[in-house]
């Protein structure tokens, strides 16, 4: 394609161009071509905004499936499949991991053998213990033996154990999004952090982040009970979170605050997207450090307050992610080892 053709385009012709539509309709996928084209031809601005208006004015009425409906439909799909696959019985599947390398395959084999051993060894109920971790720059989605799902963010560790009475317990160091399934006998599910805070649930969706100086728990759906242990400064406490509430717990002094937030901003990472609402460069720095171990450095601390809003896919490649963030913030990111220096262009 010859880009020069575009010089003679009318607004209507632009609005008909597939690539132009893509640029307007999906701003989260940066389109370098149109940005630079517009920079080279500033006189085309009126035609372009006219065309942009045309494309944007095509909207359709919204229909959406509620979260419980979505889950119910998924359960119906799985139930239907179970009936189909009745003959193919597999005794136990402790976990199937996504994105695992060949080493993990060996680990899974080991776990399967161990699990099979537990399974075939009758009468004695042994506790099941599983553990997993992620390195910098990777996430992992796993299903626990009780069918609860966990997405583990980068550089995190998780240990899972089932006690004799069926109570489920996990120990988390790092960040994870949990989707806990009810069990028939309503056994508890407890998330322990390596600080003075535990999360107790029955069945629900929530995010726990213990990577920084604070532990941040955000509840997306259901209800959870937070148990805060006694410290030198504060008494033990137990409090409930409602959907959309967030608790920040200070690891150092045991202080905590509760407030209402838009849960999606704290949980969207587990679906592979970064949803940014007044997302500052400082927030981006925290993200890059947590997920990739990169330290973002600015000479002018004013820059840290630069904000953007919108959403973008998270790419688990530090360089790509940095380039994307650089474009979004319109800043120059210069990398030296694990340090990233940020300048205005």
């Amino acid at each position: 394609m010859a880009a020069s053709n575009y010089l003679s385009y009318t607004a209507r012709e632009f609005a008909m161009d597939e690539d132009f539509q893509q640029w307007v309709l999906h701003p989260e996928q940066r389109n370098v071509f149109w940005e630079s084209w517009l920079r080279q031809h500033p006189e085309k601005e009126p035609v372009i905004s006219d065309a942009r208006q045309l494309v944007q004015s095509i909207r359709f009425r919204d229909y959406s499936l509620s979260a419980p409906d979505k889950e119910q439909l998924w359960d119906a799909v799985l139930n239907g499949l179970e009936e189909e696959e009745e003959e193919a019985t597999i005794p136990i599947r402790p976990s199937i991991w996504r994105n695992v390398g060949k080493y993990a395959a060996a680990v899974i084999l080991g776990i399967l053998l161990t699990a099979a051993w537990w399974w075939w060894k009758p009468a004695i109920q042994q506790p099941a213990i599983l553990s997993t971790y992620t390195r910098l720059g990777e996430t992992r989605h796993l299903m626990l033996p009780d069918s609860s799902e966990v997405t583990l963010n980068a550089d995190s560790r998780l240990l899972y154990a089932v006690a004799g009475n069926g109570q489920r317990e996990v120990w988390l160091d790092g960040e994870a999004f949990f989707h806990v399934k009810h069990t028939a006998s309503k056994q508890q599910f407890i998330v322990h952090t390596y600080d003075n805070l535990d999360v107790e649930v029955l069945g629900t969706q929530f995010n726990v982040n213990s990577t920084g100086k604070e532990i941040v728990v955000v509840l997306q759906q259901g209800s959870i009970l937070l148990n805060i242990g006694e410290t030198s400064k504060g008494k033990a406490a137990a409090l409930y979170l409602q959907p959309g509430e967030m608790l920040r717990y200070n690891k150092q002094d045991g202080d905590y605050t509760k407030k209402s937030v838009d849960a999606i901003h704290y949980t969207s990472w587990h679906t592979g997207r970064l949803i940014m609402d007044d997302f500052t460069l400082a927030d981006a720095a925290i993200f890059m450090e947590q997920v990739f171990g990169k330290k973002l450095i600015v000479r002018d601390t004013q820059l840290l307050n630069y904000k953007v809003s919108g959403s973008m896919p998270i790419v688990y490649n530090a360089d790509t992610m940095m380039t994307q963030l650089g474009k979004v913030f319109r800043m120059q990111f210069n990398q030296r080892g694990d340090e990233v220096w940020i300048h205005k262009p």
Partner: protein, 203 residues
């Protein structure tokens, strides 16, 4: 037609979906759940515009995902666009289900693929009555498009399918998809509120 294929952005998004697809074909249930999560909202949206019958759409979706899992061994690894595959499969199922149901025969539903006309935020200074009047005029003009034409426009603008994919799904020629969309854009161009265009020119 200048489609600018070389500059089609978002290729990595498609790639990550296809790798999810690869895992799914190998029988990975998490990948299957991932595909469900990634597409269920858009598929439901399409189904509702297609027939406005929530239970029927849900039934078709349940069958679609069950068959998807059962037939995974026979599906191709080079799927290209999973969304395209799922939408065309849902469309066939809905058509089949509706054909069995006599009530729906030859029904040219007004609500199907109905446009929603909303002004972009930056233009809300314009007087309310003007907006309402413009909306009405525009709705009237757009209602001259047939259901099939509206569906083609919907598939391109809402579901992000390419002109070629839209043509394939609807068994149309690419040219007629292009002409249909051109017609809609022409209507919009003619009917967009005047003050709005002046505002843009004044920039």
């Amino acid at each position: 037609m200048n489609t600018g294929k070389a500059f089609r952005s978002g290729l990595h998004v498609v790639a990550s979906h296809s790798s999810l697809w690869g895992l799914f074909l190998q029988g990975d249930r998490h990948a299957f759940a991932g595909i469900y999560d990634a597409h269920i909202d858009d598929l439901f949206h399409y189904g509702m515009h297609f027939c406005q019958d929530k239970e029927r759409v849900k039934d078709c979706l349940q069958d679609l995902f069950q068959d998807l899992w059962i037939s995974r061994e026979h599906l191709t690894a080079n799927i290209g666009n999973v969304r395209y595959y799922l939408i065309s499969s849902l469309r066939r199922r809905l058509l089949r289900a509706l054909r069995k149901d006599r009530r729906y025969q030859h029904r040219e539903s007004w609500e199907a693929f109905e446009f929603e006309y909303t002004l972009p935020l930056e233009n809300q200074l314009i007087q309310h009555e003007t907006i309402e009047e413009q909306k009405r005029l525009l709705q009237e003009a757009l209602s001259n498009l047939s259901r099939r034409q509206r569906e083609a426009i919907y598939l391109r603008f809402f579901q992000n399918l390419s002109y070629t994919e839209v043509a394939d799904i609807m068994s149309m020629q690419v040219d007629s998809v292009y002409n249909t969309i051109s017609k809609a854009i022409g209507i919009l161009k003619k009917n967009l509120p005047l003050p709005l265009l002046l505002l843009l020119l004044g920039k």
